[in-house]
């Protein structure tokens, strides 16, 4: 199938945009956190400098090729998942069922990275990896229900069509499915790995968990993965519930650029909300995090799903 011009542009634009936006978001959130700490904080471009320094390192020790694969998996996983996210209403690949594929792809990056850390043989990273997988079990449950609810509500399994269905001023999905939106936001806190759910990389307990043995280039790759996963996950929430940032109708290039801008701003707002929560809360223990996730968020997601099913059947 021939790809249209915009698709060709978006293939290269989407990953670069995710890379740029991810590090910009991190820079802004570090400045924002510093202000909450009543201090000056690093320059906004600090995250770019960090990655440049990591790739400028002369020596990057690796324990085995599996560790290299782990770092590569992380970056590939997140780049693959960015292709399915409609940015400003325009996704690279859009077909029926791409939301299911995306849910899979979101899991590939952490699993690949877990494979890599397993090869390092450091007990701290082993504990970090097991915590990461447990936490994923925690937030995947409500998140999966939320996806099912949105799919049933708009009875389409393609994110681009969900975004199109939300056009117009007042029919964002967050107004139609408030319960699912709240459950999704709570799950987002775990997906982004922000406190109170950053057990996998808890420095004070397991010396930054999986990243213990990653140095130089490999740590650079993991930081790229972390930055781009922020854009992916925040962007996914914006697409599902905040109308995908599509404000300017029409297919002109200026409309696309405007929509991309709105989409980025909405993603930044979602990221800063989760960073604000991060700054004022400590960290749960692993058991407490799972108890929390299988409690309120799962209940909310169930209620949201129930509402959607009943409204389809015609009760509401």
């Amino acid at each position: 199938m021939a790809w249209s011009a915009t698709t060709w542009v978006m293939i290269f634009l989407a990953p670069l945009l995710a890379f740029f936006l991810g590090h910009l978001f991190l820079g802004i959130s570090r400045k924002y956190t510093a202000r909450m700490h009543r201090r000056v904080g690093p320059p906004v471009v600090q995250q770019f400098i960090d990655v440049m320094k990591l790739f400028g390192k002369r020596e990057s020790t690796t324990h085995s090729w599996v560790q290299d694969m782990g770092a590569l998996f992380a970056v590939i996983g997140v780049v693959a998942s960015i292709l399915f996210i409609p940015i400003g209403g325009q996704a690279v690949l859009a077909f029926q069922g791409d939301i299911i594929v995306l849910a899979y792809l979101l899991v590939i990056a952490p699993l690949g990275m877990a494979l890599g850390t397993g090869a390092t043989g450091n007990p701290n990273s082993a504990i970090g990896v097991s915590r990461g997988l447990m936490l994923m079990m925690g937030y995947e449950l409500p998140f999966a229900m939320v996806i099912v609810a949105v799919v049933l509500h708009y009875d389409t399994a393609s994110i681009s069509e969900i975004v199109k269905a939300q056009e117009g001023a007042f029919n964002w999905a967050i107004l139609a499915l408030p319960l699912s939106a709240i459950a999704a936001d709570l799950a987002l806190q775990g997906m982004l790995g922000e406190k109170p759910f950053d057990q996998p990389v808890a420095p004070a307990e397991i010396a930054s968990g999986p990243m213990v043995e990653f140095g130089g280039k490999y740590l650079g790759m993991l930081m790229i993965w972390h930055a781009m996963s922020i854009v992916v996950e925040a962007g996914l929430f914006v697409d599902l519930f905040l109308g995908g940032g599509v404000i300017f109708p029409g297919g002109s290039v200026w409309a696309l650029i405007g929509n991309i801008l709105i989409w980025s701003i909405l993603a930044l707002v979602m990221w800063l909300i989760s960073v604000s929560i991060n700054n004022v809360f400590g960290r749960f223990k692993m058991g407490q995090a799972l108890n929390f996730y299988w409690g309120v968020p799962t209940l909310l997601a169930l209620l949201g799903l129930g509402y959607v099913v009943l409204s389809n059947v015609g009760v509401f």
């Binding site: 510093a34 201090r39 000056v40 320094k53 390192k57 930054s208």
Partner: protein, 201 residues
Amino acid sequence: MSDDEPKGGLLDQNGIPITNLPKRGFVRRVADWASAKSMWLLWYCTGCGAVELPPSFTSRYDMERYGIGPMATPRQADIFLITGYLSVKTLKRVVRSYEQMQDPKYVLGHGSCTIDGGMYWDSYATIKDVGLYIPVDIYIAGCMPRPEAIFHAFEKLQSMIKAGEANGWRRYKENYQYYRKNQDKVFKRGPDWALEEPVLK
């Protein structure tokens, strides 16, 4: 001066030659600029000077303005702060952490105890000069240097990195036998120390 004494050239206070890097290309110059602007400390409070680190990290002095922040493990860190005296037991862990750090790595010696043993000159448990065991790029004077002195050292280190003069890691690799001989006199290396001979890449 037996054969494995350090080779000629400009010597630092312990007779270790200070070698400048060969001509640096554009990429290496940019990498040095980036590593100067984003220096990551190893989170290891080795001595009493470490009580001046919390004030330097936190709101009043805020080290993060320079892009400097603590990192959890030697793999991720660039700078090693030897904050104050080093007991023999700590020196063993310091050398092991230092060898795990990735090049280019820099060492800052806090306080007079790292220069000549300071107030514990006659203590059987502390070493008297860090420069004998690991190469030190900058010594900071003071019996626990204040945060302002620490920041002055960071700025000096940044300018040295940009100019390509901060190459203690290079001296360590070129004169490894000299350092190793001093270390073996003070502590015994465990059998599980994987690193035999670091190679200069």
